[in-house]
């Protein structure tokens, strides 16, 4: 077994330090070392997207990133999405549209949807569906998710003008 390595990274704008065994995933380090349990493990194999975070601005599955790879890098998770007590418009729209039931997929979908709107503020429904194809939901049937994302995108465009 490899020796634990000391990792310094930036998570949701804050500098963090933690120890990680070389075989630990970023998802496990976020949840178990840093107490950020919003990111979920649905599959552990890159298929479900429940563990979605951004790494230096790129959407990735944190279950397929080693914690030691995070050294010196910038990570955002679902915990960085709301502004203090104020929900992000995507989060607000998910509540309004009832775009969740059990909620297990929701953090990953929100992180992925925000990454979409950051690069494409005016996606078509087809673009949104393809972008989110790696986020599985066993409850909602996706329709309400897509409606919430499209509605949030429209609101965010309004805020910009």
């Amino acid at each position: 077994m490899g020796a634990r390595q000391h990792i310094s990274a930036n998570v949701n704008g804050d500098p963090v330090e933690f120890l990680a065994e070389p075989g630990t995933t970023l998802l496990d380090a976020l949840r178990d070392e840093l107490g950020l349990t919003g990111s979920k493990e649905g599959c552990g194999s890159g298929d479900c997207g429940a563990c979605s975070v951004t790494l230096d601005g790129r959407l990735v599955c944190s279950c397929l990133v080693l914690a030691v790879e995070a050294q010196g890098r910038r990570i955002t998770t679902i915990e960085g999405m709301a502004d203090g007590g104020t929900l992000h418009p995507l989060q607000q729209k998910f509540l309004e549209h009832a775009a969740l039931q059990c909620g297990f997929c929701t953090p990953g979908i929100l992180v992925a949807a925000k990454a979409l709107l950051d690069v494409n503020p005016d996606p078509t429904e087809v673009e949104a569906r393809y972008w989110l194809a790696g986020n599985l939901c066993r409850c909602t049937g996706y329709d309400k998710v897509i409606r919430a994302v499209m509605d949030a995108a429209a609101d965010l465009r309004q805020e910009r003008v």
Binding site: P22, V60, L66, E69, Y130, A133, G134
Partner: protein
């Protein structure tokens, strides 16, 4: 993944040394979308993981006299953002883009797709049709090999201990050249190719095909180069008769297995259809380039 070690060398030579010292259980890490899945499932036993991403040039795309040099660990998402590459090699880019979800695209590399040596790897037929070469670094120096010489059978490569791919090169292109890649999967996203077909071709000023290369995925133990299928369309303007010949020659090249994703017969038939459709797309793209 409890019995692994991790190194992130900052030079190619240090990476080759580390891989060689790590022996048979040492593994190069690019995006980890195959490697970490295999380590977690226990299909691979632990060992030394050598992260290639800190080697200068391992991430990024650069143009050199019309050729493109793609760092081995460059994620798919980055490849799709390079306008010059998208224009010159639309087929390679669309094939790479088909790998996994947005999240997987954030990490997965073409070199990892190639070195994982799956016969169904999506970018590989396109790379082979494009006559891509790989710069390999190892303990005894560098060598350059054709992309098709790396995978030798499912899950196995010709790389020697300590060797890894540092970059993938796509050659400079004649005017009126284009490529295309199509795959067949039962869903629209997130599945493994039942068949993949890549066609790369060059036209003369009159629209006659003067050069072509056809590569087929998931219909043999490695990606197959269908020379007869290319010969079937060279000298034509891709009329109906040429497309029929291409279809038959592509089917003739197939050596598929039957499994839960499709029977050998089904795969063979689809290979002909996809070769034809990919050729038509590449042809249309090459003609459009001739017009502007």
């Amino acid at each position: 993944m409890s019995d692994v070690d991790y190194l992130a060398p900052t030079s190619a030579d240090a990476a080759a040394k580390a891989l060689a010292a790590g022996g048979a259980a040492a593994r190069a890490l690019a995006g980890g979308t195959d490697l970490l899945v295999q380590l977690k499932s226990g299909r691979l036993k632990g060992g030394l993981i050598v992260d290639l991403k800190h080697i200068p040039g391992a991430i990024g795309v650069r143009e050199e006299d019309g050729a493109f040099v793609i760092g081995a660990a460059t994620p798919g998402a980055t490849i799709g953002e390079h306008a010059g590459l998208v224009r010159a090699w639309p087929g390679v880019v669309e094939a790479t883009h088909l790998i996994g979800s947005t999240q997987v695209q954030g990490r997965a590399s073409m070199a990892g797709n190639l070195c994982n040596a799956s016969p169904a790897a999506d970018s590989v037929p396109a790379l082979i049709a494009a006559r891509a070469t790989c710069v390999i670094v190892g303990p005894s120096g560098r060598r350059t090999v054709a992309a098709e010489d790396i995978p030798v059978s499912p899950g196995r490569t010709s790389l020697k201990p300590g060797e890894f791919v540092l970059e993938i090169r796509l050659p400079a292109r004649a005017a009126r050249s284009a490529d295309a890649y199509l795959r067949s999967i039962p869903r629209t996203e997130m599945d493994i190719a039942v068949v993949g077909a890549a066609v790369n071709l060059t036209l003369d000023s009159g629209g006659t095909i003067i050069e072509a290369r056809v590569a087929l995925g998931a219909v043999g133990p490695t990606v197959l180069i269908a020379d007869d299928a290319a010969a079937a369309i060279i000298g034509s303007r891709l009329d109906a008769a040429a497309l029929e010949r291409l279809d038959a020659a592509a089917r003739g090249a197939c050596r598929p297995i039957s499994d839960k994703r499709g029977t050998a017969e089904f795969r063979t038939k689809i290979a002909g259809v996809l070769a034809r459709r990919a050729a038509a797309i590449a042809y249309g793209r090459a003609r459009a380039k001739g017009e502007n």
